[in-house]
Amino acid sequence: MAQFRTCPDTGLYFHKSAESLIKANAVAAAVALLVAGLLGLLVVLTRWQAVHLLPADQFYMALTAHGIDALIFWIIFFEMAVLYVASSVLLRCRLATPAWGWVQFLLMLVGAVMTNVAIFQGSSSVMMTSYVPMQAAPHFYLGLILFAVGALIGCFIFFGTLVVAKQEKSYEGSIPLVTFGAVTAAIIAVFTIASGAIILIPTFLWSIGYIAHIDAEMYRVVWWGMGHSSQQINVAAHVAIWYLIAGLVFGARPMSEKVSRGAYLLYILFLQLACAHHILVDPGISAEWKVFNTSYAMYLAVLASMIHGLTVPGSIEVAQRGKGFNNGLFEWLRKAPWENPVFSSMFISLVTFGFLGGITGVVMGTEQINLIIHNTIYVPAHFHATVVTGTTMAFMAVTYFLIPVLFRRQMILPGLAKLQPYIFGGGMTILVLFMLGAGTLGVSRRHWDMDFTGAALGFDYPGMAYTLMGIGAFGGVIGVIGGGIFLLITVGSLVFGKKLEPSAGLLQSFGFPLAASCYTDKRPETLPRAAPLPAGHHTSSFEAPGTFVLALVLLVTFVVYYFINWKYLASVWQLS
């Protein structure tokens, strides 16, 4: 049966089963993003105190669904697509057990729908974290469990496909760096899902009455073993996409395979206990445990991210300098294709993840500093920088690439597509910055009314807190518009975009052999190793001075901001 095709433009190779699964998972992800975005709009319009749109019950329902649809369903559906791309497509091999791929998809779909139904029935407004002893409907937990089982199957299909590729010798040498990153993500995913199973299965049994009691603190510790590690899946996946896009757009090669892969290894080794920084102000957890786990577990992972933060733009700089953009420190960056959403979205992802998400995450994950940040709106500000401008924009970037290549459609509204990353990234950056500010003024997260209407005893936030929340919400609205434009362009392209058959000659070829885009049963040639470095290349000099300067700017920002927070901590009441 004809099962394989080569993209006539890029030479990328698709196994039909993998292709269909990538499409299905990407479309499900887009639907989750749409729902999450609309709910996000309702949330910001409620937290914007001057608008205060929803009543309390609907606000908490919308916030629960927003968190789960965005952070779990949108991102993990998309990550399944990424795993299929990183294995079958990049390694040019058949997908292992395609039928199980559909089991993966259907379980995740059923789980996602089930949990959403539970939330919108109104009995499960428990937030994404569903802290016990607040109880949701049983199908809230069951949906999450089914979704996780589906994701686990997806991980094993990915591992199986790596085995198939190795056995059938579809590539020479070692797996590509991007696939290595996906392996990292999948390994972390297995650990994550195991933590999730350990806590969600008993919680489900508790919700139907088989277990009498779940300890609230134990729940927090184990739940965050899933909750935080799952964010590290995102980091591993979106860093892989950064490398992929640096390669696709610039032909960049990693500065050092050893360094980049070593950094990924740090993620695998040191992330599992990073859950510790969610329980820094919890009772019954010793300071020694907190310090050990936040430092060894987190800082070696932080080190890994700081390494990628240098090597990803560094590889772009080296590639650009190789093309002759050698003037000064930054010509390589000025002459980058800023109008290409594949690049601009990826680059905004890189910068905001480092400067906003990364720095704030480390600061609030410091044992004592957490005292002045825990559960304020600073926390969602931080993770909107990591998962929205970071992960989501990386996923958007690769989607822009996949529409012509995978779906074989010409993108509609190219002018708007050029602007979309700036609208989305700009809006969300405003949201993040101003919510960070409101958080330092003590504004609470997950809170319907900062006026405390109806409270017996009141409290007045300073006027500035209202201003910051208002501007942040305004940024959120812009961000939602940017997200809407993304969905309009991508979904619109699938429906209305001109078919790119057989070859439109619009896309860059990567030097792979090209063929007509029809399905055959002919296997491609073995994926060769990358071309060796040109002669005369030496690694002892600074190859990417501009990137090094940018990295130093990041470091200085980090150091200054870190100590400002210690200073702020020193001004509060003495505690011991």
């Binding site: 908490y60 802290y131 040498g173 070692s174 590509p176 991007v178 609230a216 603190e217 490398y243 992929l244 640096a246 390669g247 032909g251 960049a252 050893k258 329980i279 820094l280 919890d282 009772p283 019954g284 310090v291 936040t294 800082y299 070696l300 932080v302 080190l303 700081m306 390494i307 240098l310 090597t311 560094g314 410091t366 044992e367 004592q368 005292l371 002045i372 825990h374 304020t376 003024l441 003590g442 997950r446 809170h447 405390f452 209407t453 109806g454 017996a456 005893l457 409290f459 060769p528 190793r529 990358a530 600074f542 190859e543 990295a551 150091v559 870190y562 020193a570 009441w573 003495q574 505690l575």
Partner: protein
């Protein structure tokens, strides 16, 4: 474009690393070590640390302690919530429940208190504003904070862990008197 192709060198782990990356890794590692040492440093020299003191408890046991404190030290009421003025240096009990912080505390500036916190039902967040000190309050656990308020004034205790439909009405008070 080796990021999505197998590495050019078969033995890629033996390819020497560029100086730029080595320098950056050393800088970043140094910074990570500094951040690590800041935490033990603050435990020794800093004034804002959480103790390791916590006990398992039950709502009934903890509620009785709170009531004892109210019986002994009550000085008045505000909006139906008792105000207590415990002696400096004493053990002070405060509970969180749907949707109240109970009782209101009246403390003296620059005096030290052992503040016990727990929840009667769901999880709550003890967020003292505008000073912005935040703790997680978990049912079944009694956390003890040794606290020395060094600024006088009226402080709100906002609940910042979502606790259901009345969450936004859960506000308590702490008065710090000169």
């Amino acid at each position: 474009m080796t990021s999505f192709m197998p590495p050019a060198d078969r033995i890629w782990w033996k390819v020497p690393v560029g100086r730029e990356e080595i320098v950056w890794i050393l800088i970043a590692l140094t910074w990570c070590l500094i951040m690590f040492f800041m935490m033990p440093y603050w435990h020794i020299y800093g004034k804002q640390n959480l103790s390791n003191e916590a006990y398992q408890t039950t709502p009934a046991k903890f509620g009785a302690k709170v009531q004892e404190g109210i019986d002994q030290y009550k000085t008045g009421e505000e909006a139906g919530v008792p105000i207590i003025h415990p002696p400096a240096g004493s053990d002070v009990y405060m509970l969180g429940r749907l949707w109240q912080w109970w009782p209101i505390l009246e403390l003296e500036k620059d005096k030290t208190y052992r503040l016990h916190l727990s929840s009667m039902d769901w999880q709550h967040g003890f967020s003292v504003q505008p000073i912005n000190i935040n703790m997680q309050v978990v049912p079944g656990y009694e956390m003890v904070l040794t606290v020395t308020p060094d600024q006088s004034g009226e402080y709100g205790v906002v609940c910042n862990e979502y606790c259901g439909i009345g969450h936004h009405t859960m506000v308590g008070k702490i008065y710090v008197k000169e």
